[in-house]
Amino acid sequence: MKALVYFETLNNEIRDVSLSAIEFAKNFTNEIYGFITNLENAKKYVKKLYVLETENELPDVIAKEISKIIENEKIEYVFFASTNKSKEIMSYLAGMINGLMIEDIEAYENNYFIKSIYSNKVYAQFKLNYEGIKILGIKPKSFKIPKELESEGEVIKFKPSKNSSIEIIEIKPKETKEVDLTEADIVVSGGRGLGSAENYHKLLRELIEVLKEKTNLKVALGASQAVVDAGWIDHSHQVGQTGKTVSPLIYFAIGISGAIQHLAGMRTSKYIIAINKDSEAPIFKVADYGLIGDVNVIIPELIQKLKGG
């Protein structure tokens, strides 16, 4: 039985969550091949690596090339990271080849897949009875990153057989190379309690910098729905039901009251630290550690003490 892993890249690196898809794939087979665009370094993890040389990664082009590999190699399982970009490609692929796609898988226990439903308010077990191609996506931070293989895999480079029917007018890259929320070890999230967009950016970005320096971990900036709606920051930073779901080691909820939609997006974090002036705020119901007070006083003090220590 053969499996293919789709490696997603961001800023010319393989995303960790794509690598951890290999670890999950090992539950099904050891005959694991890879597909990637442009980069060759994934050959350290798979027996055979297909490298598509392309400038853009639109879903119709990528799905078409993956479908050809599936046919030629008689692949039965395709694994991917449950990020927006990978899901866009895999869902199109599923339609092309009549594949069964399950995304956001968090665990595999006794032949059951575990994933959340109702926007992370409930977990469900799923049993798969499908003879066709299975397309399985893992949730970021659910599986570990595998060791490199003893010998590098064979590399097959090729070019797309067709152009996309979509035209890219422009991509404005993000100003800073930010860690994606879903892959961060620490998420520093702010809400209306910070008072203004200026405070939000100044205090949280400074806290992120000092945390990065002192912990050597990946730290990302999060936001409540209220501050995204107020235009303090764009939607890609929103945590919660209409934003992203995160499970970092530490989640800082700073000036966030904790509406149910927000809690749905972060309550599986390992440690939740909430700072809020209202001791009755619902965020304290899910927090592990709480600090009551004005965030505009507490955060500068925290930054100072972290710098000093």
């Binding site: 927006n84 308010k121 977990y123 979509i166 404005k172 209409t242 550690y289 220590g309």
Partner: protein
């Protein structure tokens, strides 16, 4: 406005395009979800059902297209029990022209292949459509593959997670915010799009719209008419609520917080 722009706008006034918006009937996002006594399903007592939030944003994007070109025909579709028609009636009050309900009570347990194939059947029967919108994720099943599956199966152009789209003569311009940045894309139609949160507010129905909606067609289709085989490719087993958190420990100072980071969580 220069001559070419005006010409384009003039052309748009008579596009006669057909748009389909698919939404999902879901529990209100404010709702706490509990389980029934044998953990086989959620407790549906006292739940208020709404149009899913991403489907709602997609509907707003369609309505904005119709604001600029009244010749566009807006169609809205959902699958669910008979009382889903209240939500469809609301879509008609907002400005949609035709509403369709595929009646099926157990809709939240369908496999992604089954639900996609039901929509495909619908599109084959009631299409063609120039633009087909889906929510970027169905927030009840958490499946985010439906729009892509439909597009891949029907070999239509496809872009996921858009934040807005607008027409420019025979093209559609699409904007999205991805991990790579802000993207602007251009495509011919027909196209399937899945909608993320939009950067604008959603309109509410007014009295005139509500009155007009009463006269608009709301078609109820029995799923058996589609001769679809409901598969068991993916069977949902027992449900579980997320683990209870241990409870909060209130700290008295920033020093205590630094101590927790050092000694309990051990990241410093």
């Amino acid at each position: 406005m220069d001559k070419t722009q005006r010409k384009k706008l003039y052309a748009l006034k008579f596009s006669g395009m057909r748009i389909l918006n698919v939404f999902k009937r879901v529990p209100d996002t404010y709702a706490e979800i509990n389980l029934n006594s044998d953990n086989s399903d959620i407790d549906k007592e006292n739940l208020n059902y709404v149009i899913d939030p991403y489907g709602e944003y997609a509907m707003e994007t369609s309505l904005r297209m119709k604001d600029n070109d009244n010749s566009i025909e807006l169609n809205v579709l959902t699958i669910g029990p008979e009382n889903s028609s209240e939500l469809l009636r609301n879509a008609l009050a907002l400005g949609f022209d035709n509403a369709y309900l595929i009646k099926y009570d157990n809709y939240a347990k369908l496999s992604p292949i089954s639900i996609s194939k039901i929509y495909i059947k619908f599109i084959e029967k009631f299409g063609p459509f120039d633009i087909i919108f889906f929510p970027k994720i169905d927030i009840d099943t958490n499946f985010s593959s439906i729009g892509g599956f439909v597009a891949g199966y029907l070999k239509l152009n496809y872009i996921a997670d858009i934040i807005t789209a607008y027409l420019d003569s025979e093209y559609i311009i699409i904007e999205k915010e991805s991990d790579r940045g802000k993207e602007k894309l251009k495509s011919k139609m027909p196209i399937v799009l899945t909608h993320d949160k939009a950067p604008y507010e959603i309109r509410l129905a007014n009295i005139k719209g509500i009155m007009m909606a009463k006269k608009k067609p709301l078609n109820i289709i029995d799923i058996n008419e589609f001769e679809i085989e409901i598969d068991n490719y993916l069977v949902r087993g027992n449900l579980k609520l997320p683990p209870q958190r241990a409870g909060v420990i209130f700290l008295n100072s920033v020093d205590e917080l630094v101590k927790v980071l050092k000694e309990e969580i051990k990241v410093l």
